[in-house]
């Protein structure tokens, strides 16, 4: 549900950039971590609804989900952790430290060129 607010903020940034670059935005690439995920379908739906009749109408969202990583305290392996089955991918140990999660960011925008 918080995707609506994400969509609104996203559209504001894209619209601002469209004006600065004086070009029509075509795709926006965003990425998020594991502890601050967005639901792709809900975000696209919300974005489409808000963007209608604005310069952002028709912009395609490319959404990348970045895995959170953890460091095993037994064997020092740094691995992509599956939080539903939290254990070291190498030794199976369950004593580990979570690494910082990737933030929810707008990475780049592609604009149409004449």
């Amino acid at each position: 549900m918080h995707e609506t607010m994400v969509a609104e903020s996203l559209m504001e940034i894209i619209a601002e950039q469209a004006e600065i670059n004086n070009a029509k935005p075509v795709t926006a690439k965003i990425s998020c971590g594991t502890l601050n995920p967005v639901n792709d379908e809900v975000l696209r739906f919300a974005f489409e609804a808000i963007a209608k009749d604005t310069p952002c109408e028709g912009v395609t969202l490319k959404i990348e989900h970045k895995s959170i990583r953890a460091k095993c305290k037994d064997c020092d392996t740094i691995f992509d952790i599956d939080l539903s089955r939290p254990e070291c991918s190498k030794c199976g140990g369950d004593d580990f430290e979570l690494q910082p999660d990737a933030p929810l960011i707008l990475e780049e925008i592609e604009f149409q060129t004449e």
């Binding site: 607010m5 903020s9 670059n21 939080l83 939290p86 979570l98 929810l104 604009f111 060129t113």
Partner: protein
């Protein structure tokens, strides 16, 4: 096609207000705890019992977040603690700007501790920083011991976990493996403080209240 690098936080606007709130709390030497849970886990009961238990020791104010009604703020005011109600009108979480506004309506100088009771929801509120000193997650035993595994984000980000309604474990009224819930939460967050409590009956409330007093003393130094 022309590619332009942006690399901007999408919720940056929220984070701007969150930082402002954080500076405010730090400057005023106040503790602010953001309470997050599913609806019906007992957040408001925990708060009213905590306020009563700590009367004369620390002064508490509350920012209440709900989709609608001021039922919760009224329950807090009945304890004589100041409360501000925010109605999100459909939104599933509180935002930092709403806290910024609510703080102007609380007598912050007279308080030691400010609780924010977030909208009942174990998912969305964890994505919105409010500038709080820490998040407290509440899990009540009827919800099941699988919640830390199913909703890892909030357990990974919280300073403390309150396992509420433990009175229901008596006589096996509810199947809930408390050791499993604790172990799953600690696996995600080794520093999380865990308090099994029954706000209704009073179990474990003294340890939780001592911890709060300790947090307040630390921030005032």
């Amino acid at each position: 096609m022309k590619k332009v690098d942006i690399n901007k936080k999408i919720l940056g606007e929220n984070e701007k207000f969150a930082l402002e709130n954080l500076f405010f709390f730090t400057k005023q030497k106040k503790i602010c705890l953001n309470i997050i849970s599913s609806p019906g886990s007992g957040k408001t009961t925990i708060l009213t019992k905590t306020i009563n238990e700590l009367k004369g020791k620390i002064k508490i104010g509350v920012i209440e977040g709900d989709i609608q009604t001021d039922i919760d703020a009224e329950r807090i005011r009945a304890t004589e603690a100041p409360a501000v109600q925010i109605n999100t009108e459909g939104a599933c979480h509180l935002s930092a700007v709403q806290i910024n506004d609510a703080l102007k309506q609380l007598p912050v100088e007279d308080l030691d501790l400010i609780f924010i009771e977030n909208v009942g929801n174990l998912v969305c509120p964890s994505a919105f920083e409010l500038g709080e000193s820490g998040k407290i997650v509440v899990l009540s035993v009827p919800e099941g011991d699988d919640k830390p595994a199913k909703y890892p984000a909030i357990f990974a980000k919280s300073k403390a976990l309150l396992i509420n309604k433990i009175d229901l474990l008596d006589g096996g009224q509810v199947d809930f493996d408390i050791e499993k819930a604790k172990a799953d939460a600690r696996r995600l967050n080794k520093d999380i403080e865990i308090f099994p409590i029954s706000a209704r009956r009073g179990d474990g409330m003294d340890r939780w209240c001592d911890w709060l007093v300790n947090q307040v003393e630390k921030s005032a130094q």
